[in-house]
């Protein structure tokens, strides 16, 4: 089940968010060896993990199994502050209805099938889409490794490159804009065999339920 955490409700999710930062450290530093993200406290947090960040958490029976992060492009974000040159061909879109999508992960034990990540990755992606469509967000931007393109194309997404690919931490990566709508959500659900909503209807009650 997907929980959406914003500044409005994050006081209910402090322990879940901490676990999620620890899992991010496991995935990005221990597993993928992104040395620049290494932190002594074992929590992978950067300058964009602030009050404007929205977190998409996949929680299964009180266990965090995956997650993702959305940053409004009207605020400083990864592409605007660290990799602006990757959007040098089309320019970096910055608008109230455009959010940057970063840090999508699924814990190792939940990755299998359907282009790796299986149902859990599908739930995280559907969670991101549902949250965006619920809140009038029509465009996502992201810095993606090229090996993700076949999955997104297969899910029926439209990916507009913002510049030429570059080698980042040993992987060819490209900045893209992704216009999203109801059709994107429908084809993504169909691809993963997901029926119905990924985001839980009553977040607070659900967390209370998992804690009990």
């Amino acid at each position: 089940m997907i929980h959406v955490v914003t500044s409005a409700n994050r006081h209910f999710y402090e322990s879940e968010l901490l676990t999620h930062f620890r899992l991010r450290h496991e995935v990005y530093v221990a597993e993928r060896n992104w040395k620049e993200l290494e932190r002594a406290d074992g929590l992978e947090r950067d300058q964009f993990d602030n009050q404007v960040a929205t977190y998409i958490l996949a929680i299964d029976k009180a266990e965090i199994v995956g997650g993702s992060r959305l940053i409004p492009t009207t605020h400083p974000h990864l592409l605007s502050e660290v990799f602006p040159h990757l959007a040098s061909v089309r320019g970096l879109p910055r608008a109230a209805d455009t959010y940057e999508w970063t840090r999508m992960f699924v814990i190792k034990s939940r990755r299998e099938g359907r282009m790796m990540g299986g149902q859990t990755r599908g739930m995280v992606i559907c969670g991101v889409l549902e949250h965006c469509l619920d809140n009038g967000i029509g465009d996502l931007t992201a810095l993606v490794e090229m090996f993700w393109l076949p999955l997104f194309h297969a899910m029926g997404w439209k990916l507009i490159p913002l510049g030429l690919p570059e080698l980042i931490s040993g992987e060819w990566s490209v900045a893209v804009k992704m216009p999203i709508d109801k059709t994107t959500l429908e084809s993504t659900r169909a691809f993963h065999g997901i029926t119905g909503r990924a985001v839980v209807a009553n977040q607070l009650a659900s967390v209370a339920g998992t804690a009990a």
């Binding site: 282009m115 090229m146 076949p150």
Partner: protein
């Protein structure tokens, strides 16, 4: 054994492609390996007499290759996670692949450890499924549809 025979076949076909390309004046080229989260999927090659292989051009071609592959898989109707819509059985593909290499039924029977009669039966089944009149036509149809 199976993997090595598949690899041998792949190398033989790759060499054939390069030779044919050369006859058409495609001397130099650029190959984009299509790698997805689940691993290697396909190759997109672009070639010509004097291709522009500047780093910037190559990066653009990398991107173009990935989009071209996505579009092709969508058009063919096979999913890019490698699950092609196949109509032939494993054995039928084997006998047609060896036929494509110029092997006779007797040779294929020896290679696959089957009787010649069984090999011919698999060929007949493949011909029926591919709506082909001759063995050669079946091989061509199987190659074209990506069965072998």
């Amino acid at each position: 054994m199976v993997a090595s025979s598949v690899r041998r076949r792949a190398f033989a076909r790759a060499a054939e492609v390069v030779n044919v390309a050369r006859e058409f004046g495609l001397d130099h080229g650029f190959l984009v390996p299509i790698v997805a989260s689940i691993g290697f999927q396909a190759c997109v090659t672009m070639a010509g007499e004097r291709p522009n292989c500047e780093p910037r051009a190559k990066r653009a071609l990398h991107l173009i290759g990935m989009y071209a592959h996505a579009r092709c898989t969508a058009l063919i109707g096979c999913e890019s996670d490698g699950q092609r819509r196949r109509i032939l059985s494993e054995r039928e593909r084997d006998v047609l692949a060896w036929s494509a290499e110029g092997k006779s039924s007797w040779e294929i029977a020896t290679i696959l450890g089957l009787s010649e009669r069984t090999v011919n039966w698999h060929v007949e089944q493949a011909k029926k499924k591919l709506d082909a009149v001759t063995r050669t036509q079946a091989v061509i149809k199987a190659l074209r549809s990506g069965e072998i």
